[in-house]
Protein backbone atom coordinates (compact mmCIF):
# COMPACT_ATOMS: atom_id res chain seq x y z
CA UNK A 1 0.00 0.00 0.00
CA UNK A 2 2.70 2.41 0.93
CA UNK A 3 4.04 1.90 -2.52
CA UNK A 4 1.32 4.05 -4.05
CA UNK A 5 1.39 6.87 -1.56
CA UNK A 6 2.67 10.07 -3.06
CA UNK A 7 5.71 11.63 -1.54
CA UNK A 8 5.37 15.05 0.10
CA UNK A 9 2.37 17.37 0.06
CA UNK A 10 0.34 18.21 -2.96
CA UNK A 11 1.41 21.43 -4.71
CA UNK A 12 -0.38 23.46 -7.35
CA UNK A 13 1.79 23.20 -10.45
CA UNK A 14 3.33 26.46 -11.63
CA UNK A 15 1.68 28.21 -14.54
CA UNK A 16 3.86 27.73 -17.55
CA UNK A 17 5.26 31.04 -18.77
CA UNK A 18 6.79 29.64 -21.90
CA UNK A 19 4.00 31.13 -24.05
CA UNK A 20 4.45 34.60 -22.60
CA UNK A 21 7.02 35.67 -25.24
CA UNK A 22 4.63 34.59 -27.97
CA UNK A 23 1.86 36.76 -26.57
CA UNK A 24 4.19 39.71 -26.28
CA UNK A 25 5.45 39.20 -29.82
CA UNK A 26 1.89 39.26 -31.04
CA UNK A 27 1.40 42.63 -29.35
CA UNK A 28 4.65 43.89 -30.84
CA UNK A 29 3.56 42.98 -34.32
CA UNK A 30 0.29 44.81 -33.77
CA UNK A 31 2.04 47.99 -32.70
CA UNK A 32 4.68 47.67 -35.41
CA UNK A 33 1.99 47.61 -38.06
CA UNK A 34 -0.14 50.39 -36.64
CA UNK A 35 2.71 52.67 -35.70
CA UNK A 36 3.49 55.79 -37.65
CA UNK A 37 6.50 57.58 -36.36
CA UNK A 38 6.17 61.30 -35.92
CA UNK A 39 8.26 62.46 -38.81
CA UNK A 40 8.79 66.06 -37.85
CA UNK A 41 9.77 67.83 -34.72
CA UNK A 42 7.32 70.68 -34.27
CA UNK A 43 8.94 74.07 -34.07
CA UNK A 44 5.68 75.99 -34.11
CA UNK A 45 2.63 75.73 -31.92
CA UNK A 46 0.04 74.42 -34.37
CA UNK A 47 -2.43 73.25 -31.76
CA UNK A 48 -5.11 73.94 -30.71
CA UNK A 49 -6.54 73.64 -34.17
CA UNK A 50 -9.94 75.20 -34.82
CA UNK A 51 -13.07 73.06 -34.57
CA UNK A 52 -15.45 72.15 -37.36
CA UNK A 53 -18.33 69.77 -38.01
CA UNK A 54 -18.39 69.31 -41.80
CA UNK A 55 -15.19 67.30 -41.88
CA UNK A 56 -13.82 64.33 -43.75
CA UNK A 57 -11.25 61.80 -42.73
CA UNK A 58 -7.85 62.44 -44.22
CA UNK A 59 -7.14 59.21 -46.03
CA UNK A 60 -3.98 57.85 -47.65
CA UNK A 61 -1.54 59.34 -45.20
CA UNK A 62 1.35 58.60 -47.54
CA UNK A 63 -0.06 61.13 -49.99
CA UNK A 64 -0.42 63.92 -47.46
CA UNK A 65 2.20 66.54 -46.76
CA UNK A 66 1.71 68.92 -43.89
CA UNK A 67 2.40 72.59 -43.50
CA UNK A 68 2.40 73.82 -39.92
CA UNK A 69 1.66 77.44 -39.11
CA UNK A 70 1.73 79.06 -35.70
CA UNK A 71 3.80 81.01 -33.23
CA UNK A 72 7.29 79.56 -32.60
CA UNK A 73 7.61 77.20 -29.65
CA UNK A 74 10.80 78.91 -28.62
CA UNK A 75 9.53 82.13 -27.06
CA UNK A 76 12.84 83.86 -27.86
CA UNK A 77 11.79 83.88 -31.50
CA UNK A 78 8.81 86.11 -30.84
CA UNK A 79 5.12 85.49 -31.19
CA UNK A 80 4.56 86.18 -34.85
CA UNK A 81 3.13 83.23 -36.79
CA UNK A 82 5.73 81.27 -38.72
CA UNK A 83 5.51 78.56 -41.35
CA UNK A 84 7.14 75.20 -40.81
CA UNK A 85 7.96 72.90 -43.72
CA UNK A 86 9.50 69.57 -42.76
CA UNK A 87 11.91 70.36 -39.94
CA UNK A 88 12.60 74.04 -40.40
CA UNK A 89 11.06 77.45 -40.52
CA UNK A 90 10.25 78.70 -43.98
CA UNK A 91 8.82 81.62 -45.88
CA UNK A 92 6.01 81.45 -48.45
CA UNK A 93 8.70 81.68 -51.17
CA UNK A 94 10.08 78.26 -50.11
CA UNK A 95 6.79 76.47 -50.72
CA UNK A 96 7.26 75.98 -54.47
CA UNK A 97 10.57 74.13 -53.95
CA UNK A 98 9.14 72.12 -51.10
CA UNK A 99 6.13 70.99 -53.15
CA UNK A 100 8.50 69.99 -55.95
CA UNK A 101 10.55 67.96 -53.47
CA UNK A 102 7.40 66.28 -52.12
CA UNK A 103 6.33 65.41 -55.66
CA UNK A 104 9.73 63.98 -56.55
CA UNK A 105 9.57 61.62 -53.61
CA UNK A 106 6.22 60.17 -54.72
CA UNK A 107 5.15 57.90 -57.53
CA UNK A 108 4.43 60.11 -60.61
CA UNK A 109 0.97 58.55 -60.94
CA UNK A 110 0.06 59.74 -57.46
CA UNK A 111 0.98 63.39 -57.99
CA UNK A 112 -2.56 64.62 -58.77
CA UNK A 113 -3.76 62.95 -55.57
CA UNK A 114 -1.27 64.68 -53.31
CA UNK A 115 -3.00 66.64 -50.59
CA UNK A 116 -1.51 69.45 -48.58
CA UNK A 117 -2.77 69.52 -45.02
CA UNK A 118 -2.73 72.92 -43.40
CA UNK A 119 -2.27 72.54 -39.68
CA UNK A 120 -2.79 76.03 -38.45
CA UNK A 121 -3.17 77.35 -34.92
CA UNK A 122 -6.62 78.83 -34.47
CA UNK A 123 -5.34 82.26 -33.46
CA UNK A 124 -3.24 82.72 -36.58
CA UNK A 125 -4.10 85.69 -38.76
CA UNK A 126 -5.37 84.83 -42.24
CA UNK A 127 -2.64 86.85 -43.96
CA UNK A 128 -0.06 84.08 -43.61
CA UNK A 129 -2.56 81.40 -44.61
CA UNK A 130 -3.60 83.39 -47.69
CA UNK A 131 0.06 83.74 -48.74
CA UNK A 132 0.53 79.99 -48.41
CA UNK A 133 -2.63 79.30 -50.40
CA UNK A 134 -1.54 81.65 -53.18
CA UNK A 135 1.82 79.85 -53.42
CA UNK A 136 0.08 76.48 -53.56
CA UNK A 137 -2.15 77.72 -56.36
CA UNK A 138 0.86 78.91 -58.34
CA UNK A 139 2.52 75.49 -58.28
CA UNK A 140 -0.72 73.65 -58.92
CA UNK A 141 -1.11 71.92 -55.56
CA UNK A 142 -4.86 72.44 -55.52
CA UNK A 143 -5.97 69.76 -53.09
CA UNK A 144 -5.81 71.15 -49.60
CA UNK A 145 -7.22 70.15 -46.27
CA UNK A 146 -7.75 72.48 -43.37
CA UNK A 147 -7.02 70.07 -40.55
CA UNK A 148 -9.45 70.65 -37.69
CA UNK A 149 -10.73 69.07 -34.55
CA UNK A 150 -14.23 67.73 -34.22
CA UNK A 151 -16.59 70.12 -32.53
CA UNK A 152 -19.04 72.93 -33.07
CA UNK A 153 -17.56 75.67 -35.22
CA UNK A 154 -19.56 78.24 -33.30
CA UNK A 155 -17.33 77.71 -30.28
CA UNK A 156 -14.17 78.77 -32.08
Amino acid sequence: MAKFRKEGKKEVPQVSTSSLPDIVYMLIFFFMITTTMRDVELKVKASPLPKATEIQKLEHKALVSSIYIGAPRDSKLGTESRIQLDDSFATPADIADWIQKERDSRNPADIPLLTTALKVHKDTRMGVVTDVKQELRKVGAFRINYTTLKGSALEN
Binding site: P21, E54, K57, M126, T148, K150
Partner: protein, 189 residues
Protein backbone atom coordinates in the same frame (compact mmCIF):
# COMPACT_ATOMS: atom_id res chain seq x y z
CA UNK B 1 29.37 9.60 -27.32
CA UNK B 2 28.18 12.96 -28.69
CA UNK B 3 28.46 15.69 -26.17
CA UNK B 4 25.17 17.38 -25.35
CA UNK B 5 24.99 21.04 -26.38
CA UNK B 6 23.52 22.92 -23.44
CA UNK B 7 20.18 24.55 -24.25
CA UNK B 8 20.12 28.33 -24.44
CA UNK B 9 18.16 29.75 -21.59
CA UNK B 10 15.17 31.45 -23.09
CA UNK B 11 13.73 32.96 -19.97
CA UNK B 12 15.01 36.43 -20.94
CA UNK B 13 13.27 36.31 -24.28
CA UNK B 14 10.14 37.70 -22.71
CA UNK B 15 12.10 40.61 -21.29
CA UNK B 16 13.56 41.47 -24.67
CA UNK B 17 10.13 41.28 -26.23
CA UNK B 18 8.74 43.56 -23.54
CA UNK B 19 11.45 46.09 -24.23
CA UNK B 20 10.54 46.13 -27.91
CA UNK B 21 6.87 46.35 -27.02
CA UNK B 22 7.52 49.37 -24.80
CA UNK B 23 9.42 51.06 -27.64
CA UNK B 24 6.57 50.66 -30.09
CA UNK B 25 4.01 51.65 -27.49
CA UNK B 26 5.85 54.90 -26.90
CA UNK B 27 6.40 55.82 -30.55
CA UNK B 28 2.99 54.86 -31.83
CA UNK B 29 0.46 57.53 -32.61
CA UNK B 30 -2.80 56.30 -33.94
CA UNK B 31 -4.42 59.70 -34.27
CA UNK B 32 -6.40 60.14 -37.43
CA UNK B 33 -6.57 63.56 -38.96
CA UNK B 34 -9.86 65.12 -39.89
CA UNK B 35 -10.44 68.33 -41.74
CA UNK B 36 -12.31 70.36 -44.29
CA UNK B 37 -11.13 69.38 -47.75
CA UNK B 38 -11.18 72.08 -50.39
CA UNK B 39 -9.99 72.50 -53.92
CA UNK B 40 -8.15 75.71 -54.66
CA UNK B 41 -9.00 77.44 -57.93
CA UNK B 42 -6.26 77.61 -60.56
CA UNK B 43 -4.38 80.91 -60.61
CA UNK B 44 -6.05 83.68 -62.59
CA UNK B 45 -4.31 84.94 -65.67
CA UNK B 46 -3.34 88.57 -65.69
CA UNK B 47 -5.44 90.02 -68.51
CA UNK B 48 -8.66 88.12 -68.13
CA UNK B 49 -11.77 90.25 -67.92
CA UNK B 50 -13.83 89.87 -64.81
CA UNK B 51 -16.89 87.74 -65.26
CA UNK B 52 -19.92 89.91 -64.72
CA UNK B 53 -22.38 88.46 -62.25
CA UNK B 54 -25.72 90.09 -61.54
CA UNK B 55 -25.92 91.63 -58.13
CA UNK B 56 -28.99 89.66 -57.14
CA UNK B 57 -27.06 86.44 -57.76
CA UNK B 58 -24.30 87.20 -55.29
CA UNK B 59 -24.28 86.90 -51.54
CA UNK B 60 -21.30 88.82 -50.24
CA UNK B 61 -19.81 87.47 -47.05
CA UNK B 62 -17.08 89.63 -45.62
CA UNK B 63 -15.09 89.07 -42.46
CA UNK B 64 -13.07 91.97 -41.12
CA UNK B 65 -9.95 91.98 -39.01
CA UNK B 66 -11.86 91.95 -35.74
CA UNK B 67 -13.76 88.82 -36.88
CA UNK B 68 -17.03 90.67 -37.51
CA UNK B 69 -19.25 89.35 -40.23
CA UNK B 70 -20.89 91.47 -42.92
CA UNK B 71 -23.42 89.80 -45.22
CA UNK B 72 -24.55 91.96 -48.16
CA UNK B 73 -23.63 95.04 -46.15
CA UNK B 74 -25.50 94.01 -43.03
CA UNK B 75 -23.76 92.87 -39.85
CA UNK B 76 -24.63 89.32 -38.89
CA UNK B 77 -23.78 86.85 -36.18
CA UNK B 78 -22.03 83.64 -37.24
CA UNK B 79 -24.88 81.55 -35.80
CA UNK B 80 -27.29 82.97 -38.41
CA UNK B 81 -24.97 82.49 -41.38
CA UNK B 82 -25.99 78.92 -42.17
CA UNK B 83 -29.71 79.74 -42.36
CA UNK B 84 -29.04 82.89 -44.36
CA UNK B 85 -26.92 80.96 -46.87
CA UNK B 86 -29.58 78.28 -47.14
CA UNK B 87 -32.33 80.85 -47.63
CA UNK B 88 -30.24 82.54 -50.32
CA UNK B 89 -29.48 79.34 -52.22
CA UNK B 90 -33.05 77.97 -52.08
CA UNK B 91 -34.78 78.73 -55.42
CA UNK B 92 -37.57 81.27 -55.09
CA UNK B 93 -38.86 82.02 -58.60
CA UNK B 94 -41.41 84.64 -57.54
CA UNK B 95 -38.95 86.77 -55.55
CA UNK B 96 -37.37 89.55 -57.65
CA UNK B 97 -34.51 90.10 -55.21
CA UNK B 98 -33.59 86.43 -54.91
CA UNK B 99 -31.08 84.85 -57.30
CA UNK B 100 -32.26 83.79 -60.72
CA UNK B 101 -33.52 80.25 -61.07
CA UNK B 102 -33.13 77.73 -63.82
CA UNK B 103 -34.88 74.41 -64.35
CA UNK B 104 -32.37 71.60 -64.91
CA UNK B 105 -32.67 67.86 -65.22
CA UNK B 106 -30.47 65.47 -63.26
CA UNK B 107 -30.08 61.74 -63.34
CA UNK B 108 -30.64 58.99 -60.76
CA UNK B 109 -34.28 59.85 -60.25
CA UNK B 110 -33.86 63.46 -59.20
CA UNK B 111 -35.59 64.61 -62.38
CA UNK B 112 -36.20 68.22 -63.27
CA UNK B 113 -35.73 70.64 -60.40
CA UNK B 114 -35.24 74.36 -60.02
CA UNK B 115 -31.65 75.36 -59.33
CA UNK B 116 -30.41 78.68 -58.11
CA UNK B 117 -27.81 80.66 -60.00
CA UNK B 118 -26.64 82.19 -56.75
CA UNK B 119 -22.99 82.40 -55.76
CA UNK B 120 -21.65 83.00 -52.29
CA UNK B 121 -18.62 85.21 -52.40
CA UNK B 122 -16.34 85.04 -49.40
CA UNK B 123 -13.81 87.70 -48.63
CA UNK B 124 -11.63 87.92 -45.58
CA UNK B 125 -9.13 90.39 -44.29
CA UNK B 126 -5.48 89.56 -43.69
CA UNK B 127 -6.17 90.18 -40.03
CA UNK B 128 -9.09 87.76 -39.74
CA UNK B 129 -8.36 84.93 -37.33
CA UNK B 130 -8.04 81.44 -38.76
CA UNK B 131 -10.64 80.15 -36.29
CA UNK B 132 -13.21 82.60 -37.66
CA UNK B 133 -12.33 81.70 -41.24
CA UNK B 134 -12.83 78.00 -40.51
CA UNK B 135 -16.11 78.77 -38.75
CA UNK B 136 -17.40 80.63 -41.79
CA UNK B 137 -16.24 77.89 -44.18
CA UNK B 138 -17.85 75.31 -41.93
CA UNK B 139 -21.18 77.13 -41.67
CA UNK B 140 -21.35 77.56 -45.45
CA UNK B 141 -20.51 73.88 -45.96
CA UNK B 142 -23.19 73.00 -43.44
CA UNK B 143 -25.78 75.01 -45.38
CA UNK B 144 -24.98 73.10 -48.58
CA UNK B 145 -24.86 69.75 -46.81
CA UNK B 146 -28.29 70.37 -45.29
CA UNK B 147 -29.70 71.22 -48.70
CA UNK B 148 -28.20 68.04 -50.13
CA UNK B 149 -29.61 66.06 -47.26
CA UNK B 150 -33.09 67.48 -47.80
CA UNK B 151 -33.00 66.67 -51.50
CA UNK B 152 -31.73 63.15 -50.79
CA UNK B 153 -34.55 62.59 -48.30
CA UNK B 154 -37.11 63.89 -50.80
CA UNK B 155 -35.82 61.84 -53.73
CA UNK B 156 -34.68 58.56 -52.23
CA UNK B 157 -35.94 58.76 -48.63
CA UNK B 158 -32.37 58.19 -47.51
CA UNK B 159 -29.91 60.36 -45.62
CA UNK B 160 -26.60 61.49 -47.13
CA UNK B 161 -24.42 58.69 -45.81
CA UNK B 162 -26.68 55.94 -47.16
CA UNK B 163 -26.49 56.95 -50.80
CA UNK B 164 -24.80 54.95 -53.52
CA UNK B 165 -21.85 56.42 -55.39
CA UNK B 166 -23.94 57.35 -58.43
CA UNK B 167 -26.58 59.00 -56.29
CA UNK B 168 -23.95 61.06 -54.48
CA UNK B 169 -22.52 62.14 -57.81
CA UNK B 170 -25.93 63.20 -59.16
CA UNK B 171 -26.66 64.99 -55.91
CA UNK B 172 -23.40 66.91 -56.04
CA UNK B 173 -24.33 68.06 -59.53
CA UNK B 174 -27.82 69.07 -58.47
CA UNK B 175 -26.60 71.00 -55.42
CA UNK B 176 -23.18 72.38 -56.35
CA UNK B 177 -21.18 74.06 -53.61
CA UNK B 178 -21.02 77.52 -55.06
CA UNK B 179 -18.66 79.32 -52.74
CA UNK B 180 -16.08 81.50 -54.38
CA UNK B 181 -13.24 83.04 -52.47
CA UNK B 182 -12.34 86.53 -53.57
CA UNK B 183 -8.85 87.11 -54.86
CA UNK B 184 -6.78 88.58 -52.08
CA UNK B 185 -6.32 92.29 -52.59
CA UNK B 186 -2.91 93.74 -51.98
CA UNK B 187 -3.45 97.29 -50.84
CA UNK B 188 0.26 98.07 -50.81
CA UNK B 189 0.48 98.15 -54.58
Amino acid sequence: MARKVPEINSSSQADIAFLLLCFFLMTTSMDVDYGITRRLPPPVEQNVEDVKVKERNVMNVMVNKSDKLLVNGRPMDISQLKDEAKRFMTPRPSDETAPEVEAKTFGEGIGEILTSKGVISLQNDRGTSYAMYISVQNELARAFNEMKDELAKKTWHKSLDQLTEDQTKALNEAVPVRVSEAEPVDYKK
